[in-house]
Amino acid sequence: MSDTQVPIMQIGDTLLTSLQGDLDDTTVMSIEERLTGEVARRNPTGVLIDVSGLTMIDSFIARVLARMVGMVRLLGSSVAVVGIQPAVAITLVELGVPMGHLDTALNAEQGLALLKRLQADGR
């Protein structure tokens, strides 16, 4: 799947992007680049990274996600990862990739609420 198909949408003052399907490394990294570019350009209050379309997250994707989150935070926006699927959640924990630094929510709706709480907390 080519990265140009990955949308970055704006909901109010929040940017939302979805990672879907079976992504190759190049696509993942170009999504990372595009997102950080958009965040720098539009300066949203919050960012949601929706991974509900991912049926697998391996250590590489987990690393890129962590990097994306780190970059967005550095740029001054709150950020949450939403939509980690049950099978993916179990596998990530068993794989042993540390994910504690991510703020996560079940879906976009809960994600928006989480972003608000993070912002109220100064995060």
């Binding site: 959640a89 996560t104 079940l106 609420a113 608000k116 912002q119 109220a120």
Partner: protein
């Protein structure tokens, strides 16, 4: 087994009669290339072909198309040659196209010089037994599910009462069930009630931690409840550290905390809305 007093021809006839009397099993001989050399009433009963139809055919005609394409028959014969004998189960196909689950023993026949001159193949129809086993397994799974339901105790709060011992397979199923419950009910807090678990050793603690971490990835906070004082002591001795996991003595206290957490989230959301003017 050789009865030296009996005429060899009679011996052969007796052996033949013995084989023919076996109707519950298919006992056939294959040549070194796997072609059917002898047939029997049992073979006909199982596979549907008459002796005329079967003799001379490659044994692969009794296999499914997939297995034929994968060369399974040849691999089984090779394993038999190398290991002396192979026992296996698999799908086979009868003359009328019906698939049956067969239990098969395949053994090589060697001549005086040790060369393989053919194989003897004994097969039995286990379709019904397999179906029974699958049914039993499904029943066991259902009982397992029934005995550990995920309960919606409040809006956004799920409780998982864990009863009995936890082996790896059961613990996995519990975790999966809970996570699916979080997805279905959009729960934000889960209560893990371990009052029904006799001992929390290192393995159980690991399962619990795994469940809590996976739930957190799905945005849900966890509360442990029902850890008895003796169990808590044992856990400390074992060096089990459940980290930041909230724990309450009773389900009632856990539920009170859960509801407070949910209310706080709602309150914070509203407050944040006020701040941002939404």
């Amino acid at each position: 087994m050789a009865d030296t007093a009996q005429d060899p021809v009679d011996q052969l006839r007796d052996l033949r009669a013995m084989l023919d009397a076996i109707v519950d099993y298919s006992v056939i001989r294959l040549d070194a290339q796997g072609r059917v050399m002898t047939w029997s009433p049992g073979a006909q009963a199982l596979k549907g072909y008459t002796a005329d139809e079967a003799i001379g055919q490659p044994v692969s005609i009794f296999y499914t198309e997939d297995d034929r394409a994968a060369g399974l028959a040849d691999r089984e014969m090779r394993t038999a040659r190398e290991s002396g004998r192979v026992e296996l189960e698999g799908w086979r196909v009868a003359k009328d196209g019906r698939r049956f689950w067969a239990s098969v023993t395949l053994a090589p026949i060697r001549d005086g010089a040790g060369e393989v001159t053919g194989y003897v193949k004994v097969s039995r129809d286990l379709t019904e037994r397999r179906e029974q086993e699958l049914r039993l397994q499904r029943q066991r799974d259902e009982i397992m599910e029934l005995s550990t339901p995920v309960i919606r105790v409040w809006d956004g709060v799920l409780a998982l009462p864990i009863i009995g011992t936890l082996d790896s397979a059961r613990a996995s199923r519990l975790t999966e069930g809970l996570l699916e419950g979080i997805a279905e009910t959009q729960a934000e807090v889960v209560i893990l009630d371990v009052s029904g678990v006799p001992t929390i050793d290192t393995q159980v603690a690991q399962h619990l931690l795994k469940t809590v971490q996976a739930a957190a990835l799905m945005g849900a906070a966890s509360i442990l409840c029902g850890v008895r004082p003796e169990t808590a002591q044992a856990m400390v001795h074992l060096g089990i550290d459940l980290g930041q996991l909230r724990s309450r003595n009773t389900l009632r206290d856990a539920l009170a905390l859960a509801m407070r957490l949910v209310r706080e989230r709602v309150r914070t959301n509203s407050a944040a809305d006020l701040l941002t003017g939404q």
